[in-house]
Symmetry: C2
Subunit: 331 residues, 2 copies
């Protein structure tokens, strides 16, 4: 018998195949080609990208030249542009506005052959600090209501360049998925006077069945309502709505959690494509008590089909309890 499960954070239902669960070896494998050729993210090719916004250069060196350990640049083919006004307008039944926003890239390492999973804890800390720096900086622009940090790894996950990088998009509106989380969290808080994420962390930490790893500051678990096989959420254990306020102790801890998690996923699932993203409170609302920032990670092992598009339901062939177990054992 499969199972319907409802996410208290979004109200979304999923269907979990609990009778014939698929394990790590039951998915197609994908090859990640790493041809260097003329990679715009490689040292020496800095002129192939727009001028950098910032970089980490431990031994100095001029901007837009080599010697960097991490580089922050505008996306050369941005989904949104930073210049201009929104010009909100109606067109009969429709609403529209100009595609204003920021679209930036964080090049995580100068090494063309490494993914985030292969970096040292110190190097991953550097990436997290770059996320924080860019978040805090972009908040200064009053047009932006939301900052979404995400990473696409592998072709199936939508990555167009193989060199390790993350992206940040600043939006003039709060996206629907985040709104849903905010609304459900508000609703839960109103009813219980508690944060739904905090309650979930407590329950997962007590149960342990879906926990992959837990440190002083963070917990990584396969959510009860995993939409995708081997989906993982990483949450700070201390209540905090705003990723931008992450502490130095948390950065150090999170780097280790991310490295261990990514390595286990890579090893257990044969280096799958994956997406991750950070959900945080909207810019103008970053001290709200009801929300709790977190990182969501989805290995891309299955295809989304007509049923999912039509319903918003997801059919997950691997119960999260089994997924967590595979990943715990790969330690």
């Amino acid at each position: 018998m499969s199972e319907f499960r409802r996410d208290p954070i979004t109200g979304r239902w999923i269907i979990v195949a609990t009778d014939t669960p698929r394990g790590p070896d039951d998915f197609e494998r994908e090859r990640h080609t790493r041809a260097v050729a003329t990679c715009p993210f490689c040292p020496g090719n800095e002129a192939m990208t727009p001028p950098e916004i910032g970089a980490v250069r431990p031994v100095g060196g001029a901007p837009n030249g080599p010697g960097w350990r991490l580089r922050m640049i505008p996306n050369k083919f941005p989904a949104l542009r930073i210049e201009g006004d929104l010009n909100r307008a109606g067109e009969g039944v429709y609403d529209l506005m100009n595609g204003i926003g920021a679209h930036e890239v964080i090049i995580e390492t100068p090494d063309h052959l490494k993914d985030l999973a292969d970096l040292s804890d110190a190097e991953i800390e550097q990436v997290i600090r770059a996320y924080q720096t860019r978040s805090l900086d972009l908040r200064g622009d009053r047009r932006f209501q939301y900052l979404l940090i995400f990473k696409n790894y592998g072709e199936t996950a939508g990555a167009s360049l193989v060199h390790a990088h993350s992206q940040l998009i600043a939006l003039p509106i709060v996206p629907k998925r985040v709104k849903e989380e905010l609304q459900c969290a508000d609703h839960y808080f109103e009813y219980k006077d508690r944060c739904v994420f905090c309650d979930m962390i407590q329950q997962e930490s007590d149960d342990r069945e879906r926990v992959v790893l837990e440190t002083a500051e963070f917990i990584c678990f396969a959510p009860f309502v995993s939409r995708f096989p081997f989906e993982l959420w990483i949450m700070p254990k201390a209540h905090a709505a705003d990723f931008g306020q992450i502490t130095e102790a948390q950065i150090v801890d999170l780097a280790g959690v991310m490295r261990h998690t990514l390595q286990r996923v890579k090893r257990t699932l044969h280096d799958p494509s994956y997406n991750f993203l950070i959900h945080t409170a909207p810019v103008t609302d970053h001290i709200r008590g009801e929300y709790h920032w977190h990182l969501e990670m989805m290995p891309r092992l299955t295809r989304v089909a007509g049923f999912e598009w039509g319903s918003g339901f997801y059919i997950n062939p691997t119960p999260p309890e089994a997924a967590a177990n595979y990943l715990r054992e790969s330690a």
Copy 2:
């Protein structure tokens, strides 16, 4: 400059790349292999599927033997099972219930080498009649609140068998995507005393810019808020909430519209994978004035990545006005 656009039916925003639009030849192509081997949907192999629910056999013949023109069967590997009770329960912060539902397959043709696009109008009518028959029959089961009809064509669209088929899933809950449409349509109706879909049809029919084809009964257009390049919606022009009540005249008309649409998509986009689905009112609510059934079709030309998963936003590289133009010209 790209553009944000908001769907009045769901409240969903999309980003349309209006400055560097991608045309039909700017997407990867996919090969659709049609190996017969031991296809469970081919005549003579009826024993490879569960016993049929119904079939069209113009010259007679026994059930579960050859001679059929269309066959309706339970899915051999169902996402949900028909036997049992829901047993709604809580588990701490989570809600769950048993995976009760129906999951059926409609084999559209005995011909292993044809897709729906290649069938005659009369054969497509037969498929639509099968959708209607199964919808009306499954309504008798009081556990089901929603019936979703959909089709996955091609590997990228999630099809696991190449032989032309559609699917139907009966659900004990109204899915989130449908709920969103119902809520927004209610809200619009409350404000304007008009159906948002009817207003949209009127506007598209007047504008013509996004219309691909229009007949006495139906309109096919690239929606203003296309999530995907070359997404198409087909809507009955007469207001009707319930697909189950489709008339014989509408079936005949719709068959022609579907054939022309699918053929144009196949020709213009080099036989892409696609999904389509029918959105209709919930079973217990099928006479509501605010809703309007319709078919949504999405060729699968792009990949969904971290930004889309994290935001619920879609970035569409082909403006629907351009898509409609390409498809009109392919007539």
